[in-house]
């Protein structure tokens, strides 16, 4: 039995218990309070604990994410089904590799790194114990091996190939040839390219255990659990559509990694009632317009969305409509083509985003006309303290439609302001929304701008107004 890696029925009962227990008290607040950060490149965001239970912060079974009791029978069926599949001799008990000795083991941090591999995906997870998991590896020769070495990785507990396209598995061949790997996880779907055959040959040589997963499976990595949300089963017709979709929870912060799945798959996951809500979303399919529907964004409701795409790639990724959907959802967006390698560090106090290059994805793709009105929602500025002296408090009041979700980005010389008080607001019954925030004493004087967005149902308006700091 493979309970070491794939805990099924046992955890199910714990899950039932926790679900029943937590349903009564879990308010699951989403609002993240942004704290003023020392530099604009690092935002520290405190994550509210999803439940007030005094249990360990490492949620082995993220029970609180299953908010609908009626999905329980479905999940139970899935668990039983997988249990049968997994009792085959495919999975053996294997020893967990020792954590890499060069890294501190007790810092209790989870680090998720979106590696800049050009056009492709490669995500490195370092558990609080110092175990490494790699989700996809970019193309062959895209530099993932060098990056792992630079981070002191000596061996990998786990490699996950979300699906067999070369921009996801090519680099995994390099990794398998250069590092000891204990386990390799796939969805079991084959591809008939030589890159895929090289991938299988490299697993054979490495003697890693191959594990095939489907919806309902849990993958244990150290103290953490990766939940498999997709595919329910592999369907012929498109490799992207069968991508493994993973969920990871640690210390109240959650990640969703949807591979390259399409909008149809997203819709199916929503209707299946899966726990999609997550703080940090890996944007599907490199920001292609075929993924990341507005409905999916509304279900995931991410605070941060990170895509991986090559600078100047031939496919036009990320698609500007997708970027705008993400911005309109209220999420902060990062991309490896703009920000380079992006690290997310998670501990008990929340998470921080650390892009290698400080830059803003949003502005590159937003319309520059001022004002720009989309459809029939409007924004009028009622008052703004401008010009304003550095060190004083600025106020902005706008008029839009009642109930609209309004968000602002204050763009200074150093980039988007991270000051407290700039969070999204819901316009009141008269359609007014106001913000009040401190202009840092060290702010560079000049004529800067404020981007204002108002969203109601499917309607969006965006305007940019001048903002002068003296």
């Amino acid at each position: 039995m493979s309970d070491k890696h794939l805990r099924k029925v046992g955890t199910f009962f714990i899950f039932i218990f926790l679900t029943v227990f937590l349903l009564g008290c879990n308010s699951s607040p989403k609002a993240h309070q942004e704290v003023i950060s020392p530099t604009p490149t690092i935002e520290k965001i405190s994550t509210p604990n999803p439940s007030p239970t005094p249990t360990s912060s490492i949620t082995a079974v993220p029970a609180s994410i299953y908010s609908e009791t009626e999905i329980v029978p479905t999940l139970y069926a899935e668990v039983e089904k997988t249990q049968q599949t997994l009792s085959t001799p495919t999975i053996e008990k294997i020893s967990t590799p020792n954590p890499s000795p060069t890294l501190p083991i007790s810092d209790k941090k989870l680090i998720v790194t979106f590696i800049d591999v050009g056009q492709g995906d490669a995500i490195l997870i370092r558990t609080p114990e110092g175990l490494f998991t790699l989700i996809d590896g970019g193309e062959q020769g895209s530099g993932v091996v060098d990056y792992l070495r630079s981070q002191g990785v000596q061996n990998l507990d786990l490699i996950i190939a979300t699906h067999p396209n070369s921009d996801h598995i090519g680099g995994l061949v390099d990794v398998l040839k250069n590092f000891p790997v204990s386990r390799v996880i796939t969805n079991g779907e084959i591809h008939t390219t030589l890159v895929y055959e090289n991938f299988l040959d490299a697993i054979t040589k490495s003697k890693a255990v191959l594990i095939v997963v489907t919806r309902g499976d849990s993958i244990q990595i150290g103290s953490l659990t990766l939940e498999v949300l997709h595919p329910e089963h592999v369907i012929e017709g498109g490799l992207n559509e069968n991508s493994i979709v993973l969920r990871l929870d640690y210390a109240g912060t959650s990640f969703l990694f949807p591979g390259d799945v399409s909008k149809d798959n997203e819709a199916e996951m929503i209707s299946a009632g899966l726990p999609l809500k997550a703080d940090i979303l890996k944007v599907g399919h490199h920001g292609s317009d075929a993924s990341t529907s507005a409905e999916f964004l509304s279900s995931v409701h991410p605070a941060v969305a990170i895509y991986s795409a090559g600078k100047g790639n031939s496919y036009g990724y990320p698609n500007s409509d997708t970027v705008n959907r993400i911005i309109n959802s209220g999420a902060q967006i990062y991309g490896t083509d703009v920000n380079g390698t992006i690290k997310v560090e998670v501990d008990e106090t929340g998470y921080s985003i650390q892009p290698e290059i400080k830059a803003i994805v949003a502005l590159a793709t937003l319309p520059t006309e001022t004002p720009r009105v989309l459809e029939d929602i409007t924004i009028d500025v009622i008052s703004l303290t401008s010009p304003i002296h550095a060190g004083s408090t600025a106020n902005l009041t706008i008029q839009t439609l009642p109930g609209a979700t309004c968000s602002i980005t204050v763009n200074l010389k150093s980039g988007a302001s991270q000051a407290a008080g700039l969070g999204p607001q819901i316009a009141d019954v008269s359609g007014k929304a106001s913000w009040s925030w401190k202009i840092g004493a060290a702010t560079t004087p000049g004529r800067w701008s404020i981007l204002i967005r108002s969203v109601l149902n499917d309607k969006t308006a965006t305007i940019s107004i001048p903002f002068e700091v003296k």
Binding site: T88, P89, T90, I91, E92, E139, Q140, N165, S166, D167, G170, G188, I190, H191, T192, T193, L194, V195, Y196, E197, N198, L200, D201, I203, T204, K207, V209, L210, V212, G238, L239, N240, S288, S314, Y315, G316
Partner: protein, 84 residues
């Protein structure tokens, strides 16, 4: 000279081909491909200066690769590679 190539994937109107033993990546417009070409299909292509001049279907190449790869995956799934 003709070379073997496989269709790795489609991205919009482009097909991404993996060419030869080295699996060099080349992008071509879908319209260059034989009608009905799918992900994973093997082709015989004429390439000059990183440009594809012709592409014809190679169903035998596809079928042989599929059999070979299914065998290899079967061995891995059963864990037989650990016994060697």
């Amino acid at each position: 000279m003709k070379t073997k190539a496989m269709i790795d994937r489609f991205e919009g109107d482009l097909a991404v081909l993996l060419v030869g033993e080295q699996q060099d990546r080349l992008e071509v417009n879908k319209s260059m491909l034989p009608i009905g070409a799918k992900e994973g299909d093997w082709l015989q292509v004429e390439v000059k200066d990183d440009r594809v001049f012709s592409a014809t279907a190679d169903p035998k190449g596809t079928a042989d690769a599929k059999n070979r790869i299914l065998d290899k995956l079967g061995i891995l799934r059963e864990g037989k590679h650990k016994n060697d």
